[in-house]
């Protein structure tokens, strides 16, 4: 078996036994790498749980329903406000980002001339490359002052909706609020949802699109009948993956949110807190119990994110589409 010379491999080293040993060794190395992944995730899970237990066992107040976060001084702490803030800011962000993401994805796949559609794709993806701390800085100094006008308008015109109510009148001034955090999160999640949606829309069956056109449909009618309905599960999956990302976003939110522990639905006045931002802000001054409590909250965040991500992949899988994730 000296055909090795033809393959450009070193001639004369292809004895049967040697190549089999090489194969076994290589296979072993790669399998070991796989096991490292196992070990790593196992370690993460175990350690976080172990370190979180002291806080979870602490019975001064219930971990799940207490709003205030003060583990080291008064011993009372709980994730109620944190979870509330995390979910509210993320859902709001997605409510703002999804229509725009869908619109951009549609434009790039169905409307744009082919030559610029790839460029437009890159540009929207460039948004995803910007580090979150830059978004935080931008939010803090550029966006928040400019949102005051919109906030005042919302509080004045739509204040009868509890979401936009502003009983203390603080929204009329510069306010670090859940609303501000949601807007920044919306900008950050836009490229992710848009990129995945683009992939989903691109897989629309051209034969079905032709069927719609042949019936005399306009371009929008064709999109409505042939592109959007089959893409719906994929789009839902994209939205959920975006949700997974916003839930864990730490730094941009930490800079822009008010850091008060309340479960109020008023998003315009200053206030609000998320699990991730709370960890970032409090870990520096945290004592032993404080750190344990932060880790416990991190575990809860991890669990929520995992759940959302799995639901997302399940939904995409069920639609039978191969998801080429670019995240």
């Amino acid at each position: 078996m000296t055909v090795g010379a033809l393959a450009g491999a070193d001639p004369g080293t292809l004895s049967d036994r040697r190549s089999r040993r090489g194969d076994a060794a290589f296979a072993g190395i790669t399998r070991a790498a796989g096991l490292v992944v196992f070990a790593l995730l196992g370690a993460i899970a175990v350690f976080l749980v172990v370190k979180a237990i002291p806080a979870l066992r602490h019975d001064k107040s219930s971990f799940w329903t207490t709003k205030i976060w003060d583990p080291d001084v008064s011993g009372r702490f709980g994730i109620a406000a944190l979870v509330f803030g995390t979910l509210l800011s993320s859902v709001l962000a997605l409510a703002m980002a999804v229509p725009v993401s869908l619109g951009v994805a549609l434009y790039v796949t169905e409307y744009a001339p082919r030559r610029i559609s790839r460029l437009l794709g890159y540009l929207t993806d460039l948004l995803a490359a910007v580090p979150s701390v830059v978004y935080g800085l931008f939010g803090l100094f550029f966006l928040l002052p400019r949102l005051v006008g919109l906030q005042s308008w919302l509080a004045a015109r739509l204040g009868w909706i509890p979401l936009f109510a502003d009983p203390s009148g603080q929204a009329r001034e510069y306010s670090k609020s859940i609303f501000g955090a949601a807007v920044i999160l919306a900008i950050m999640v836009l490229p992710i949802v848009s990129a995945i949606t683009r992939e989903v829309l691109r897989q629309a069956d051209p034969a079905i699109k032709e069927a719609a056109l042949a019936l005399g449909a306009t371009r929008w009618e064709m999109i409505r009948t042939a592109v959007l309905p089959p893409s719906r599960p994929g789009i839902v999956g994209a939205v959920m993956l975006g949700l997974g990302r916003t839930l864990g976003e730490t730094i941009a939110v930490a800079l822009v949110i008010g850091n008060t522990f309340s479960t109020s639905w008023h998003i315009l006045p200053p206030g609000g807190a998320t699990i991730a931002a709370n960890i970032a802000n409090f870990f520096g001054e945290a004592g032993a119990l404080g750190r344990s409590a932060l880790i416990a909250s991190g575990l809860v965040l991890f669990a929520i994110t995992l759940l959302v991500n799995f639901l997302a992949r399940y939904v995409i899988l069920r639609s039978g589409r191969e998801e080429r994730s670019t995240v």
Binding site: I208, E210, A212, L215, G216, A217, E221, T225, P229
Partner: protein, 258 residues
């Protein structure tokens, strides 16, 4: 209903490449015209030029005229979507809308055109599904998904969908090539019924099929290698298959090439 189509100097291009060269043909109303020829000679391209589907492909264009009862459908200012509402098409692979039921598929064109009344839609669905010889097989499961039918049934559903909007011409691009022989025969029988009301143009690979169903046959082929396709001869089916005028037609019919 059932208009005449006449093309004058119809040429089709993909960007700079000419695919079909200067076709002059008259297609009579209420008849079946078969377009035959070897692969890649531009038959489908020609067909798609008749309902302005050719221009859906980027950089594709057309020269010449296509007259629908003396009106050139390529006149500037004519809306291509309007043309397609009047000249319908059935494709090679059945393409029912996957997320719609059988009923919704059948009336999809009508709904797009703004027909809303429930009874009007149900009437139209039954009418077109009967005309497509599919009604008896699906009347009890109209709300089931259209994609759940067999290939032959799907194709008949697509035909029903196309005729539900009452077009004047029906174009069929190798409608049976992905179907089994029994479904094929079913659709061929259907065509004989349909020609009472519509003008039908069918592109087919299958000469025997052309001989079975059509009144007129047009033979296309390439001028030479790397050349565009063109119309060699068009005549009554009887004539083409028994005594063609052109040598090349005879060669193709008798299997000497293609």
């Amino acid at each position: 209903m059932a208009k005449r189509i006449e093309t004058i100097g119809l040429s089709c291009y993909y960007g700079g490449t000419k695919a079909v060269d200067s076709v002059n043909i008259t297609i009579e109303p209420k008849s079946v015209t078969a377009v035959i020829g070897p692969s890649g000679c531009g038959k489908s391209t020609f067909l798609r030029a008749l309902n302005r589907m050719h221009e859906v492909i980027p950089a594709a264009r057309v020269e010449g005229q296509v007259l629908l009862d003396d009106v050139d459908i390529y006149t500037p200012g004519v809306d291509p979507a309007a043309v397609r509402r009047v000249i319908g098409m059935v494709f090679q692979r059945p393409n029912p809308f996957p997320t719609m039921s059988i009923f919704d598929n059948a009336v999809a064109g009508l709904r797009l055109n703004g027909v809303r009344g429930k009874s009007a839609l149900e009437e139209a669905a039954e009418r077109s599904l009967r005309a497509a010889n599919l009604w008896d097989e699906v009347k009890d499961r109209l709300r089931r998904p259209g994609a759940g039918l067999s290939g032959g049934q799907q194709q008949r559903l697509c035909i029903a969908r196309a005729i539900a909007v009452e077009p004047q011409v029906l174009l069929m691009d190798e409608p049976c090539s992905s179907l089994d022989p029994i479904s094929t025969l079913a659709i061929e029988d259907l065509m004989v019924d349909l020609k009472e009301r519509y003008t039908i143009v069918i592109v087919t690979h299958n000469m025997q099929q052309a001989a079975r169903v059509s009144d007129t046959t047009a033979f296309f082929t390439l001028r030479g290698q790397g050349e565009p396709g063109h119309l060699v001869e068009v005549d009554s089916t009887q004539r083409i298959f028994t005594n063609p005028a052109q040598r090349r037609t005879e060669d193709y019919i008798t299997g000497r090439f293609g």
